[in-house]
């Protein structure tokens, strides 16, 4: 832009921009008021919970708040290979006494026990000593505590307390990747036989990928048929595609259970046509096969609809042009039709993949042990272990994963190329 750009004035001498803003202000306010309820709803139901989830997943303030004097004194603990100085013991004793009065000492014991096995026992011993007023505050607290249990004389346990000092922790995220902070502060892998989360992450990605692939190969021809059939047939077919949408997810999954179980319809049919023996019925449920079949069927409409909406806009004369110019039907399809459907393919695949990656009910019901996904693990921690901060951490990891996939997609294909309809 040239620096000499003159301000354009209206006939009344007001700058044009000011005048334009004034004229559009009312409309802008109206438009904002219209979307305001939605915005508010989104903030309350989406942004706020995600923020809360994040806080919950990193929050580790419990011990920080319970042992203020201990941590203050620990700042002076320099030689970490030796037991902490007297001030630390005294601080810990005073903090613990307050907790005993508030009857919160049990929580501390449990929390510290998670950090280092064996803590619960020795805090209980300390509790009994305090109850019986056996601790003399005028002499060295350090020696008295050390006498309670030999573990109090082990520096490892004091280091464990020190590790809980920061109010925030990434431990839950590390746990989600089968890693933990070792006693020396380095990040270590859990034992090989206990690495369950990594398997689940990989399986989730694998199942989401293959479900997307299956949906694509099944959905593409259906969408093409829908887009090219005459209206009266395409409406009927559209209803068939949408029918699963109108049925409850549970009902659909349950019907797959009826079909796929070992004494189910599909197996009966296989036996009937002699494909398999009656005593040798294949397991098609409570494993990956069941998850693939049921999830592909349930997510198929999400692939078909974006594809259909894109294909609908492609003029049939383009294929004709391709053929009349000498392209075989395959060349016309591959060089002309297919590239034009890429926005729909992108939208459909992204939609199905993202939905599949967080799928819960279907794998829970038909997946069995080898067909469950990370979301089932999240639900397990929400409902059974009540470790909400861990569930939050894994939920956020899933969300981050989806955002990363979206970012990669944007880099590869470009988000403006997505067409949902």
């Amino acid at each position: 832009m040239s620096s000499e750009t003159k301000q354009i004035l209206t006939t009344d001498g007001i700058p044009l921009e000011v005048s334009l803003k004034k004229a559009e202000k009312k409309n802008k306010i109206k438009a904002f008021l219209l979307v305001a309820p939605l915005l508010l709803f989104l903030v309350i139901t989406y942004i706020f919970p995600i923020g809360d989830m994040f806080m919950r997943s990193v929050d580790d303030r419990m011990v920080t708040n319970m042992l203020p004097k201990t941590f203050k004194a620990m700042e002076k603990w320099e030689n970490l290979e030796e037991l902490p100085p007297e001030e630390v013991y005294r601080g810990f004793y005073e903090d613990y006494k307050v907790l005993v009065e508030k009857q919160e000492h049990g929580k501390l014991g449990q929390r510290l026990n998670k950090e280092k096995n064996g803590f619960n026992t020795i805090t209980k011993r300390l509790f009994r000593q305090i109850k019986r007023n056996k601790i003399d505050e005028s002499i060295s607290i350090k020696e008295q505590i050390n006498k309670i249990h030999k573990r109090w004389r082990n520096v490892e346990f004091w280091l464990a307390i020190k590790r809980t000092a920061p109010p925030y922790t990434m431990a839950k995220y590390l746990k989600g990747m089968d890693m933990y902070v070792a006693s020396d502060g380095s990040i270590a892998q859990v034992d090989e036989d206990r690495r369950i989360h990594r398997i689940l992450w990989l399986r989730t990605l694998e199942i989401a990928f293959f479900v997307t692939l299956f949906s694509f190969f099944m959905g593409y021809p259906i969408a093409h048929l829908l887009a090219t059939l005459p209206m009266k047939y395409s409406n009927l077919l559209m209803i068939c595609v949408l029918l699963p949408f109108w049925t409850s997810l549970l009902v659909r999954t349950a019907s797959w259970m009826i079909l796929l179980q070992q004494q189910g319809v599909v197996n009966d049919f296989f036996v009937m046509i002699g494909l398999v023996g009656d005593d040798n019925r294949p397991e098609m449920m409570y494993n990956k096969v069941g998850t693939y079949v049921a999830m592909t069927q349930i997510l198929l409409p999400f692939m078909v609809l974006p594809l259909y909406s894109v294909m609908k806009t492609i003029s049939p004369s383009l294929m004709r042009a391709g053929k009349s110019l000498g392209g075989t039907p395959f060349v016309a399809f591959w060089k002309v039709y297919f590239p034009l459907t890429i926005p729909g393919i992108g939208a459909g695949c992204l939609l199905v993949f993202i939905l599949a990656i967080g799928y819960y009910i279907t794998p829970a019901l038909v997946g069995g042990a080898s067909g469950t996904l990370i979301s089932n693990q999240i639900a397990f921690h929400m409902k059974t272990t009540l470790d909400w901060s861990f569930a939050s951490a894994m939920g956020l990891m899933l969300l981050t994963g989806v955002l990363v996939i979206y970012w990669i997609y944007n880099k590869l294909v470009g988000v403006d190329n997505i067409k949902l309809g």
Binding site: R320, L325, G326, V331
Partner: protein, 361 residues
């Protein structure tokens, strides 16, 4: 090489989509090599169906289509080697202009240098050099049209089909494109089959015009004959403007007949009437009727002006004449302009040879 007068031949072709209605009935049409032939007709008259059958996108229900003596009904479209320009251009939106033009050459496995040469030649034919890297969406309607024409010609097809290619353009552009396509045809001598419902387009461009109605060719002749000598009322009505009188033959001679209207009689040229008592529709071009004719004409009447509409180069006058208030006159805009006022009485005359007594409407 002598021109083959039956380069494209429709031989007794019928076409029905639903087995109940014939969209094309017993079509017999020969197209000579290098000819520019237009299929003209209202929508639903079967002209596009004929084109699609020739291109291979529809199959004739009965009869054969021959291209240079070979039956092509069983050859798929991509092996026919027929270029086609579609109504909405059908440019591939994800390819550049160059790629669009190179497509028919690439599928024919033409060498890269050769492709460049041919694309360049085709683009210069439609004066679009320098547009190679543009995407179709970055072109104006007229430019897209030219690209479509160039693409249909770039692989040197024997026949080019054009399906209402100018329908989406505005009037001025349409007219200049008409001349451009006509010149391209003249310079490369390709056989063109052109479909349109715009009669002025057909008259401007074609060597011959086939007027379609109701699945049949009503008249096949050159533009002048079509306009001057329509063989039936449909053609007379469809091509250009005309004034019609419905009446009954009361007297008939070799080249003259007397037609009795509601309350008067006129002389006409018997075309498709043969005997007394037949019903007829007499068709007269507006420009053949003159105001205050100086020479002797055998039809002279007085009419009352009902409406005067100024059209720039001419003035349209609607008259109440011989019991019909729909009689149209075209008065050219010249210096000796007449004072034409509504409800003024004027004398009108025309020669009976120009009043063609055709089949009754």
């Amino acid at each position: 090489m002598s021109k083959n007068p039956e380069f494209v031949k429709f031989d007794k072709v019928d076409k029905s989509y639903d087995g109940k209605v014939l969209v094309v009935k017993d079509l017999q049409l020969d197209i000579a090599e290098g000819e520019f032939i237009t299929m003209l007709g209202p929508s639903g008259s079967g002209k596009t169906t004929c084109l699609m059958m020739l291109a291979g996108f529809e199959t004739p229900t009965h009869g054969e289509i021959l291209l240079d003596g070979n039956i092509i009904s069983n050859i798929p479209p991509h092996k026919r080697g027929i270029g086609m320009v579609f109504q909405n251009y059908a440019l591939f939106p994800h390819m550049t202009v160059y790629e669009n033009l190179a497509f028919p050459l690439r599928v024919r496995k033409v060498e890269k240098d050769e492709i460049d040469k041919k694309v360049d030649k085709a683009l210069s034919m439609v004066s679009l050099n320098g547009f190679e890297t543009r995407m179709p969406a970055q072109l104006s309607g007229g430019q897209q049209q030219r690209v479509a024409v160039a693409r249909a010609l770039v692989f040197d097809p024997a026949v080019v089909l054009m399906d209402e290619p100018l329908g989406a353009l505005d009037k001025n552009l349409r007219e200049s494109m008409q001349y451009e396509i006509k010149h391209i045809h003249e310079s490369i001598g390709v056989t063109v089959v052109y479909v349109t419902h715009d009669q002025s387009e057909a008259l401007t461009m074609s060597n011959r015009i086939a007027v379609f109605n109701d699945g049949k060719v009503q008249q096949l002749s050159n533009p002048a004959e079509l306009y001057e000598k329509p063989v039936n009322s449909f053609v007379a009505e469809f091509i250009g403007e005309n004034n019609t009188f419905n009446g009954e033959i009361v007297d008939i001679d070799k080249d003259k007949c007397k037609v009795k209207l509601a309350n008067s009689e006129i002389l006409a040229n018997p075309i498709s009437v043969k005997s007394k008592g037949e019903k007829t529709t007499v068709s007269l071009r507006p420009e053949r009727a003159l105001i205050n004719p100086s020479e002797k004409m055998d039809n002279m009447f007085t009419g009352k002006i009902e409406e005067v509409i100024y059209h720039g180069d001419h003035t349209r006058v609607r008259l109440n004449l011989l019991g019909s208030s729909e009689f149209i006159l075209k008065v050219p805009n010249s210096t000796s302009n007449l004072e034409l006022k509504v409800s003024q009485d004027i004398n009108i005359g025309w020669n009976s040879i120009d009043a063609r007594a055709l089949d009754p409407k």
